[in-house]
Amino acid sequence: MLSVEGLRSRYGRIEVLHGVDLEVGSGEIVTVVGANGAGKTTLLRCISGVQPTSGGAIIFRGEALKSIPAHRRVGLGLSHSPEGRLIFTNLTVEENLRLGAYLFADERVERDMADSFTMFPILKEKRNLPAGGLSGGQQQMLAIGRALMARPACLLLDEPSMGLAPILVAQILDVVKTLKSLGVTVLLVEQNAYAALQIADRGYVMETGRIVFSGAAGELIADPRIREAYLGI
């Protein structure tokens, strides 16, 4: 469904992705784990189009994304729940969700909104409050809910567990598993490698802008090198 080939990207003169190759098959949960600063977030930003690339290719459902601006990639079925959440703080929770489905104006919007509220009941409680006043965890839920409103075929999920209490991390990872059962493909970027590998089908380990290991999630969890370096066990 999504394939990344030799992807390079730079901030100014400093290259941060040095040729990344990655495959995400339809219906898979694939996770990219690695330390802070490895380039995981940059990778997702390149795929969704808000970070310019300097080499390589991104192919989504057979279409090269290079010349397609970020706002048109959403329409292709690629939805990004960004790091730092980036919700619209000046709008209400409900307005944030509604804008997630900016490209749609049919009755399914209401249904998807109801689904978001079922998934995250706290958002329903706060639906008419400004999103800027939500706690970090609630903003994270809102960002995921908003990304799902876009009816993604492939969801790019960046650090959903960042800054969250363990119980919320478990809740959000449960949501990711539910998505898989609904047929949504997920590319999950996480620092919390152990939690991510537990729900993923396959995983990639990233280190300073390169993929250093890849394999089935179970194999990665069992690999002694990875256990020591990334899982801390």
Binding site: P69, R72, E95, L99, G100, Y102, A150
Partner: protein, 290 residues
């Protein structure tokens, strides 16, 4: 009593003009955080283009529509040629660009049109309407109706349409906006077009009362800016209230103190607002949680 009512009526008329200009500020500010100091030039273009089209033999209503469309196009060009290429520059730089655009438009108007004062007839005659010993011009009622209509449309737009929310979302976070499929450049173009059209409408409505000339923009932009600041930048209701309040303060100062100080009032208001309540009457304190 009649005197008080007279000041009130003229204050509301002038205030409605300021409110229209302030509403123009609101839209672009909401889309981009930019205070567009060329807003006064849109007012000037509305009046001037209407006048010259009317003088060329086009019926006045048609001339007015033509002027509004032409000014909206100028707004779009301003965005495409001056603001969009400078995307990524700090907001202060963009504001300076709008000041440059304002000087450019004023110079252009001087060349294309002329340096005379111009007026075209009022829409419903010039016979003053008497109310309890005070009078108001029929054209003033047009101005007030225009301000109210634009306020209501903008309020509906921001509160009840998806496009309105998309404009607000773009101002809040351009990257997040593009991640949900909003084209931020479209939102900017839209805001500049509508803002320019609102400015032009103000120019069309007010020309029979105050006349128009190529250099009318600076003063009116400053008054509109003061009104928008007073009400709370970016809030349609604030723009309306700020405009009317500023108009009334001016009219009462002119009536009860001296008309010499009339124009100074706007600046005193700007200073007072900035010192005492920078978020304006209707503004909310900026709130962000990390």
């Amino acid at each position: 009593m009649a005197e008080l009512l007279q000041y009130l009526l003229s204050g509301v008329t002038v205030g409605a003009v300021y409110a229209l200009v302030a509403l123009g500020f609101t839209l672009i500010y909401n889309a981009s955080d930019v205070v567009n100091f060329a807003q006064g030039e849109f007012v000037m273009l509305g009046g001037m283009i209407s006048f010259f089209a009317w003088q060329a033999g086009i019926p006045l209503p048609l001339a007015a529509i033509l002027a509004i469309i032409a000014t909206a196009s100028v707004g779009v060009l301003l965005n495409k040629l001056a603001i969009e290429p400078a995307r990524g520059a700090p907001v202060a730089s963009l504001i300076i660009i709008t000041i440059g655009a304002s000087i450019f438009l004023r110079g252009g108007a001087q060349l294309v049109f002329d340096k005379q004062l111009h007026r075209f007839p009022s829409f419903s005659g010039d016979d003053p309407i008497r109310i309890l010993g005070a009078t108001i011009l029929p054209q003033s009622l047009w101005v007030i109706a225009g301000a109210v209509a634009i306020f209501l449309s903008l309020w509906l737009f921001f509160a009840h349409t998806l496009t309105g929310k998309a404009v607000l979302a773009t101002a809040n976070n351009r990257i997040a906006a593009s991640l949900v499929g909003i084209n931020p450049n479209h939102m900017m173009t839209l805001s500049f077009a509508v803002s320019a059209a609102i400015g032009a409408l103000a120019g069309v409505l007010v020309t029979p009362i105050t006349l128009t000339s190529y250099d009318l923009g600076v003063a009116i932009a400053l008054k509109g800016f003061a009104a928008a600041m007073l009400g709370g930048m970016g809030i349609p209701a604030g723009a309306l209230a700020g405009g009317l309040l500023l108009g009334l303060i001016e009219a009462f100062t002119a009536g009860y103190v001296s008309s010499v100080y009339k124009d100074a009032v706007a600046f005193v208001v700007i200073l007072a607002v900035l010192f005492a309540m920078p978020q304006g009457l209707f503004g909310r304190k900026a709130m962000d949680r990390v």
